[in-house]
């Protein structure tokens, strides 16, 4: 608890202060994207990233992770490089040429044997993976698989199947597209990956799971739960602002993160999230989608208890914030 000299005053509109503290510097932020060489280009920073966080997008524009390797391995660059290579997801399209023959209604997959021997993948493994999608009949050569969908299959479905085959995951960790090695300050190495797959990376035997970082908040919520998501939302907000040399107290970021996660799931700031679920009809109507809210309120005979700020401004009464929170009755 804070000493009295430093304590907040009851009634303080901390929500508005937090919103202003994060929003006001928005005009000073850059729109530039950041370039992580070799992993992901154009990673949003500054304002676009802030908007991304606040929107609680399903997936960030450029997901990436920082993977820390267990101590004994992390000092050797080749070992780390080897691990990093193992993480990279290999798709069927990078191992084989896939052609579709619409006339005969079949798909021909010609595996490049040189590549798979480099990657140490056996033909059988690939076949097994493909078989999960469609039944395989051997082609003229050993390294060619042919898929013959039934005669009735539409051309569109063949194209769809081809696309699925192209992005068929063969080896490594799914959604991890690229990796690179970064030297830490203490001389050890860590891996930065383009694409994020927290659950799989954390299970990797050589990875320090508790140090693993991803910028995909939604994924953190899925894998580790809201509390983790809340914490990382705070961290990300603070980090975005810090990178722009904008000094914003961490408490504002925490309040925003807490507000976004207070119901046990991440909600965005905006009409589909927090603002759309507010108590007052008038408050919702005054924000966005005015007509929709009024119509639904009428049908369901909704009642606005006038407990929010906007509602009271609309009807011209004292706002329940700050000194307006105090009610005083005087015996006269």
């Amino acid at each position: 608890m804070a000493s009295k000299a430093r304590s907040v005053d009851p009634g303080e509109a901390v929500g508005i202060i937090a919103a202003q503290s994060i929003g006001e510097p928005g005009t000073q932020m850059t729109m530039r994207t950041f370039h992580y060489a070799g992993v992901a280009e154009q990673v949003p920073t500054g304002l676009p990233r802030l908007i991304e966080l606040v929107d609680a997008r399903k997936e960030p524009k450029k997901p990436l992770m920082d993977v820390y390797i267990k101590e004994e391995l992390s000092k050797s660059e080749p070992k780390v490089r080897e691990i990093a290579h193992g993480l990279e997801s290999t798709l069927l399209s990078s191992l084989a040429t896939i052609e579709e023959d619409f006339a005969q209604k079949l798909i021909r997959i010609a595996i490049d044997e040189k590549t798979i021997s480099e990657e140490q993948i056996s033909l059988d493994d690939i076949k097994k993976k493909i078989q999960k999608l469609a039944s395989v009949s051997e082609g003229e050569e050993k390294n060619v698989f042919v898929i013959k969908p039934t005669k009735t299959t539409s051309l569109r479905n063949i194209r769809r199947l081809t696309n699925k085959l192209r992005s068929l995951h063969i080896k490594g960790i799914e959604r991890i597209s690229r990796t690179m090695i970064i030297r830490n300050a203490d001389g050890t190495y860590r891996i930065r990956t383009g694409g994020s797959n927290l659950a799989a990376i954390m299970k990797h035997p050589s990875v320090i799971s508790e140090k693993t970082y991803t910028n995909d908040i939604q994924e953190i919520e899925r894998v580790l739960g809201v509390e983790a998501a809340r914490q990382s939302l705070t961290n990300e907000l603070k980090q975005v602002l810090d990178m722009q040399n904008l000094n914003v107290d961490i408490r504002h970021c925490m309040l925003l993160a807490d507000a976004m996660t207070m119901d046990g799931k991440i909600k965005s700031i905006g009409r589909h999230g927090l603002s759309g679920e507010k108590a007052g009809v008038l408050a919702r109507a005054a924000f966005e989608e005015t007509i929709k809210h009024l119509i639904n309120a009428a049908v369901h005979a909704e009642e606005d208890r006038l407990i929010g700020v906007t509602e009271n401004i609309i009807i011209g009464q004292t706002v329940p914030v700050g000194t307006g929170l105090v009610k005083l009755k005087m015996k006269m």
Partner: protein
């Protein structure tokens, strides 16, 4: 103000046709407005029973005149009912979830009881999933209901007329309606089909008289005339026994007019247009969006007692003052309650015929009387306790001052009035940062507070000196900048010393009237004079931007020169934490005056000479650039021979660009070193950059040495012609100049090609600024809207308006970011107004 009645809640419901008829003061029967003598027609759309908008006429319902009659609703009796277009979706949902035969909800009794028991049942989803093909109540097969937006429904390909829809909806039992989320007492679904259309009073849709004397009706009136006209034609056709086809056509036309009356932007419906071709602004358009009723008139309201003009700087007034032009002061008034202590003063105001005078008096019974020459004596005789006088604005009054965009709370602060000659509002330049104001023509608004409670709140919570520390980061936001920093630096320089006359002048201007003993053999050092501004118990050490150690001990500046970091932030912050906000204000007021006097006397300016390099330095710059060109050419050759080292994860081309960008930025940095060395600390531009007063080293480099690499999208310029940026270069030239390196300085002037490249980079940053303002503005609106109800409660938890806990303890530690800098062991800062004892 004593609040006796408060609105507790607002309920939203539907009107039944009966309710509409009950509410109505008149039934509209004529599809017309005014007759030839421009008198409202009875039964027309501006029937005087609805209220009047013409001066002189009286409302036939309440007898009120223009201002006093609030207006009364009327109604139109539609011969054939129509569907309310905005509720089309709702009607579709009900039709889909009920049986066409028995009108029961299409889920079994068992499911109904189950759903009713659930707290948070997703009724809509449940019905969609559990809907049977056969009605669970009557066993009838369920045909498909189709909805053609916005108002047409069909059952098994047969169109449902609005009458059919109404009859269907009317037959649904109340108990079933409750299941699907309706409150039948307030919202029976058949009311969604309109048979009596409510007509808003004329005051809602006033007509305007043009200069020619013609009347121009409001868009809504136009629309209502359309509805009436077709409605009458439909009536006539029905009575004449016209064929069903014609009747249905007309019926549909009524539906169209009603649809556009409610919302002229309905999807799939051509908007109704004015004669001029402009789409009409109907009910929806009036409410919606930024200029709609909600955001324009309800969330933001117009006010009286306000002023707006250009602002200009006045460093001699205190930071919490505002200079008000006499014209403004004479026009704005402050209500003063007359009591036994101020009775005489009030009488003086009333009796005065010039500037500080009373404009109005308000009697205890609430009657407002203007103070005129005729009425003055009479008012003076009756004036007593319980009256209120409205007197003109005078020095010391409390006002709010604001500059848009109001991005944060310190965009509106409370100032004390100081009436000053001139026609601008004046502020101390120190309060520019919170308002983000400058004086290139900025205008600001001033609001005069009208109630005692508001005045007290403004003074305690919004006064400028209480806002010196920003709640955003806990450091000063109101701080001396630019010339003040230069002044303080010159003042506290080691060499600076003053003779008696100068020392006296500097102290006097800062409000110090006692001269201390000289500390430098009959002369006074600048450090000594500056120390007199500091509290006696201030001790701190800090590192300055110049790398010096600044030491303050017991309120005496022992060593180091004050620059921006120490002046703006650290000293000011510490004074406020130790002695409170008002001490901070006094420090700012006094120190800025002294600093300003110092720069004024010293003189601080820049000239072309500031940016003229010596011949040797110029040569050195050329050498650096030559080296750069050679390096770049070498890299390009390597690239063309494919011998360039590839960076991990990059293409060869990207590697080249990366390398060249590195070379060009290094070149500018090297140029910077030359500039810095050549100019040294005697160059005012460099001084200002170093102490953080204004400008940066980069500015000096760009003016004196070279402008440097221009970039578009963080890359060298590539756009323009095929394989080259401008026709002056050879195709595929990847050299420095061809890709936007500006080797000239601003002082020497740019080559035409350089000028183009510079303009390309300049345009990008302009475009970015425009986009950024829009994007960040919307983000902030959303943030504010989402968080505005969150308040710290008495238990220091943060809750929203519903009372839902957001944080159990604000920020985890209940520390106010504004006060976070205070040492937790220290006692609360002394906020009492205690004048510091003069030295």
């Amino acid at each position: 103000m004593i609040v006796q009645k408060m609105i507790d809640r607002v309920k939203f419901t539907l009107f039944s046709p009966e309710m509409v008829r009950k509410l109505s003061s008149a039934k509209i029967t004529v599809p017309d407005t005014y007759n030839d003598d421009s008198y409202p027609i009875d039964g027309g759309l501006v029937d005087p029973r609805m209220g009047v908008i013409d001066p002189g006429l009286k409302c036939k319902t309440c007898g009120g005149k223009l201002r006093s009659c609030p207006g009364h609703f009327a109604h139109i009796e539609l011969v054939r009912p129509v569907v309310h277009p905005e509720f089309g979706k709702v009607i579709y949902f009900i039709l889909k979830s009920t049986c066409h035969a028995c009108k029961r909800v299409l889920i079994s009794e068992k499911q109904i009881t189950e759903l009713a028991a659930m707290i948070d049942a997703d009724i809509e989803g449940e019905i969609k999933h559990k809907r049977a093909n056969k009605c669970p109540h009557c066993g009838e097969k369920v045909p498909e209901v189709k909805y053609l937006k916005p108002t047409t429904f069909s059952l098994d390909k047969a169109q449902l007329l609005p009458t059919d829809v109404r009859d269907w909806l009317a037959a649904i039992p109340n108990s079933d309606l409750k299941v699907i989320g309706f409150d039948p007492q307030y919202a029976r679904p058949e009311w969604l089909v309109i048979s009596a259309l409510l007509v808003p009073p004329v005051s809602v849709r006033p007509s305007i008289t043009l200069d020619t004397g013609d009347r121009s009706e409001d868009d809504l009136t136009h629309k209502l005339v359309d509805i009436m006209r077709i409605n009458q034609r439909l009536d006539a056709n029905i009575n004449a026994g016209a064929p069903q086809l014609i009747i249905e056509d007309l019926w549909e036309l009524v539906q169209y007019h009603v649809t556009t009356y409610f919302n002229n932007e309905t999807a799939n419906i051509p908007p109704a247009r004015h004669r001029s071709g402009r789409p009409l602004k109907t009910l929806s358009q009036r409410l919606k969006g930024k200029e709609g009723r909600f955001r324009y008139n309800l969330s933001g309201k117009r006010v009286n007692f306000s002023a707006r003009t250009v602002v200009s700087p006045d460093p001699m007034i205190s930071i919490d003052e505002v200079g008000v032009p006499p014209e403004v002061a004479a026009d704005l008034t402050v209500p003063i309650k007359v009591n036994s202590w101020n009775l005489e003063k009030c009488k003086q105001y009333v009796s005065s015929t010039e500037y500080p005078k009373a404009e109005y008096t308000i009697r205890p019974d609430g009657k407002r009387i203007r103070v005129t020459d005729q009425a003055r004596q009479e008012i003076l005789d009756s004036l007593g306790v319980g009256f209120t006088i409205e007197r003109q604005l005078i020095d010391g009054d409390i006002v709010l001052f604001n500059r848009q965009p109001s991005l944060h709370r310190i965009s509106i602060m409370c100032h004390t009035v100081k009436v000053l000659p001139g026609r601008t509002l004046r502020i101390n330049p120190v309060v520019c940062p919170p308002y983000n104001a400058d004086f290139d023509g900025d205008e600001m608004n001033m609001h005069v507070i009208q109630s005692e409670e508001a005045r007290v709140e403004a003074e305690y919570l919004m006064k400028v000196h209480n806002q010196i520390i920003s709640p955003r980061h806990g450091h000063p936001i109101i701080k001396p900048q630019e010339d003040y920093v230069s002044g303080a630096f010159f003042l506290t320089n080691d060499e600076t010393e003053y003779d008696r006359a100068h020392a006296c002048q500097l102290l006097a201007i800062a409000g110090i009237y006692q001269l201390p003993a000289p500390d430098r053999g009959g002369k006074w050092s600048g450090k000594l004079l500056f120390s007199l501004l500091l509290p006696k118990d201030l001790s701190m050490t800090m590192k300055s931007r110049l790398g010096e150690q600044i030491i303050i001990k017991d309120g005496v500046l022992l060593s180091g020169s004050i620059e921006s970091k120490s002046y703006e932030n650290e000293i000011l912050e510490k004074i406020i934490h130790m002695h409170g906000n008002d001490a901070g204000r006094r420090f700012i007021d006094a120190s800025t005056k002294m600093a300003l006097e110092v720069v004024t006397q010293t003189g601080l300016s820049v000239s072309l000479a500031n940016y003229s390099l010596s011949p040797e330095a110029t040569k050195k710059i050329e050498e650096i650039q030559d080296l750069m060109r050679r390096e770049i050419d070498a890299a390009v050759i390597q690239y063309k021979n494919k011998t360039l080292e590839r960076l991990p994860g990059r293409t060869l081309r990207e590697s080249l660009e990366e390398k060249i960008m590195g070379i060009t930025s290094k070149t500018r940095d090297d140029g910077g070193k030359v500039v810095e060395k050549n100019f040294g600390l005697r160059n005012t531009s460099i001084i200002m950059a170093k102490i953080g007063a204004r400008g940066s080293l980069l500015n000096a480099i760009q003016m004196a040495a070279m402008v440097g690499q221009q970039a578009v999208r963080s890359k060298r310029v590539t756009r323009g012609y095929r394989k080259r940026t401008l026709p002056h270069f050879r195709p595929s030239d990847l050299g420095a100049a061809a890709r936007g390196f500006v080797a000239s300085s601003f002082r020497s002037g740019l080559l035409p090609t350089e000028y183009f490249h510079h303009a390309m980079g300049g345009r990008e940053s302009l475009v970015n600024t425009a986009i950024r303002t829009a994007r960040s503005g919307y983000m902030q609106r959303r943030l504010i809207n989402a968080l505005q109800d969150m308040v710290v409660m008495k238990d220091l938890s943060v809750r929203d308006s519903r009372g839902v806990v957001v944080q159990f303890l604000f920020g985890g530690d209940a520390v106010d970011p504004m006060k976070a800098g205070i040492k937790s062991t220290a006692a609360a800062p002394d906020t009492e107004r205690k004048e510091e004892t003069d030295v």
